[in-house]
């Protein structure tokens, strides 16, 4: 007799040995099935502090669950699983497992900031989404996706030259993702561009591709920016470390 209400049980909560004999009794399959309970047995009191240590998460403790953020959310309109109010609540109580379940959608925040605009208590939900995404990344819960590599390539170019060059970004992205540099769609795209763009424009694009201009007086700006970002990250790591140690000490 299989479980009738199986759709009401998460698959990962079902324990079952396909074939099992115990004390001489064959209890294979559903005869030995057991279910892990789904109740929440504790809070992680320090999790909120960890998220607050990320840029954007500072005001998460102010939330009173009015739901304005979710109601106004651009993403929620297309995917009702995208629920900033809910994740903020989980953050406050430290229900990490629940947050991790949504790791594949939290990063979908489009940063339209409607939530932050509407929030009556200045929680800045958009920032919390960012903080959560970063935390998930730091803890290794999110796999490195092509979009990450794209961001990386984009940032590296900005750092070097203070600007981006589309063709370089695409080429760099292809290299990082081990894609062929010549792709059918790109060839078609380029051919058509050549056909329709004025010559002067094309010439400038070509020159830029070959010589890669930098933003005027960019100088050490990129390096300084990188140092700043690294310093920020180190400080955040330090704060998190302290939060963890405090927890262990307790």
């Amino acid at each position: 007799m299989a479980i009738h209400e199986k759709s009401l049980i998460d698959a990962d909560r079902i324990m079952e040995h396909d074939s099992l004999v115990v004390d001489g009794v064959d209890v294979s399959g559903h005869w030995n099935t057991m279910i892990k309970p789904r109740y929440i047995a504790d809070y992680d009191d320090d999790f909120e502090k960890i998220i607050q240590s990320y840029g954007g998460g500072e005001n998460v403790h102010r939330c009173w669950q009015c739901g304005s953020c979710t109601n106004s959310c651009t993403m929620y309109a297309v995917n009702t699983d995208f629920n900033p109010r809910y994740w903020i609540y989980l953050t406050r109580l430290g229900l990490k497992d629940e947050i991790i379940k949504d790791k594949d959608i939290i990063w979908q925040c489009v940063s339209c900031n409607k939530c932050t605009n509407i929030c009556p208590k200045d929680v800045r939900p958009e920032g919390v989404m960012k903080a959560l995404a970063h935390w998930l990344e730091d803890e290794g819960h999110t796999e490195v996706k092509p979009s990450h590599l794209f961001d990386e390539e984009f940032w590296e170019q900005v750092e070097r030259t203070g600007r981006i060059e589309d063709a370089h970004v695409i080429m760099g992205f292809f290299k990082k993702t081990k894609q062929p540099l010549i792709q059918e769609w790109l060839t078609a795209f380029t051919t058509r561009m050549i056909k329709h763009l004025p010559f002067a424009h094309l010439f400038r694009m070509g020159m830029n591709f070959v010589f890669t201009p930098r933003t005027r007086s960019w100088g050490r700006t990129g390096k300084v920016l990188r140092e700043f970002v690294e310093q920020q990250e180190a400080e955040a790591r330090e704060r998190r470390q302290q939060a963890r140690q405090a927890k262990e000490a307790a």
Partner: protein
Amino acid sequence: MNPTDNTPGNHNANGDGATKPGFHNTDGQGIAGHGSFFQETNLSREEAVKATDWVRKHVDRRTVDLGDRMDDIREHMWELEREGEIIVHRITDAHKPMTVRTLFGWEKKIPTNQLWHHKSCGQCGNIPGYPTSLLWTMNQLGMQPGRDYLDETDQTSCTAWNYHGSGIGNVESLAAVFLRNFHQAYISGKQHGFDAGHFFPLVHCGTSFGNYKEIRKYLIESAELREKVKKILGKLGRLVDGKLVIPEEIVHYSEWVHVMRNRIASELQKIDVSNIRVTAHVACHYYKMVHEDAVYDADVLGGNRTAIITSVAQALGAQVIDYSTWYDCCGFGFRHIISEREFTRSFTMDRKIRVAREEANADVMLANDTGCVTTMDKNQWIGKTHEQNFQVPIMADIQFAALACGADPFKIVQLQWHASPCEDLVEKMGISWSETKKRFQEYLKEVEQGNIEYLYNPELAYGGAQ
């Protein structure tokens, strides 16, 4: 009783062993007095208990005003009787009633004599030691079969297991079955040379108890329902003067055990059980369905939880240990125990057996309902297939009481039908499992020859005393 760390309300009642494991940040401070007089002191545990006693003294018992606020269905019942609508099967002096208090402080009469055993359909097929222990205890107390109690074949299950499991059946069918069974109890005396009403029903099953109370409430509230079932009862010839017979009280066997606990302990007890750690599981359908009717006693668990089971275990001198899932259901679930056992076994292991084992280190879990005993007893073994090898002997309160009073673990308490490790408990009580088992196996040969010993035989009961 011996107070233990985990006995509710008894946390710090004794000096030795009162230190509980696992406390953090302890700085050894107690409380002196209350109000702005809270001070840091270095009180001993006993002194601290005395100082915090004000909590209990300051609060009025629940009986103060809740009773007035809530509607007592029994009052409506008396009204209906006055109006000539129904006949109330009364508990008279002949039933030697004892008075107990219920959740809202109302009084409830528990008949102790002239009882009509209303058996449980799960119990009898599955854990027969439950009714046998009850009958045995009654005999030991000098009650005479056929005069002081009756066990008839003219009764059916309350059919509520099926209803709660499947939804097949309805309020009318449940009501008709209730009234039919209780009418039989009412008139049963006649066949034995007594008046109508001589025997009062004693309900063995928790679900029957809860179901009957709920149905009684519907019957009293709804004239339409009364009209409908009257037709059925009329056809069955089960009306008295054209009226429905409704009992004054619905009485559960464990309430009888509760009121008889001191007599059982003082007159019958033979075995010291002060070394036995007992956990109590009270059936949901005993104290959660129509909960205003469950027995609460200020002297048992401070009157904060139903007294049933705990009171008899304490009267026998056993240690009653509190555990975190005291209020939880057993996991029976009606249809689940038959056709969705994955749930039943998972629940009972996680919320009952594991907790009784790990938290309370219980020697036995006592229950007062068929379903609960079955669920917790039969579903332990399978736990070992998923590293949950927790085991605790499970039985009914009356089985435990009978054991303490020297009843044979096999012949009377019928522990051979239990799957949980009852051997361990019996041995701890100083009874040799193997020897009594050997004796029982010899008795089985006698049984094959037709030499059967009876606690009770209905044929002998006809015509009055045995």
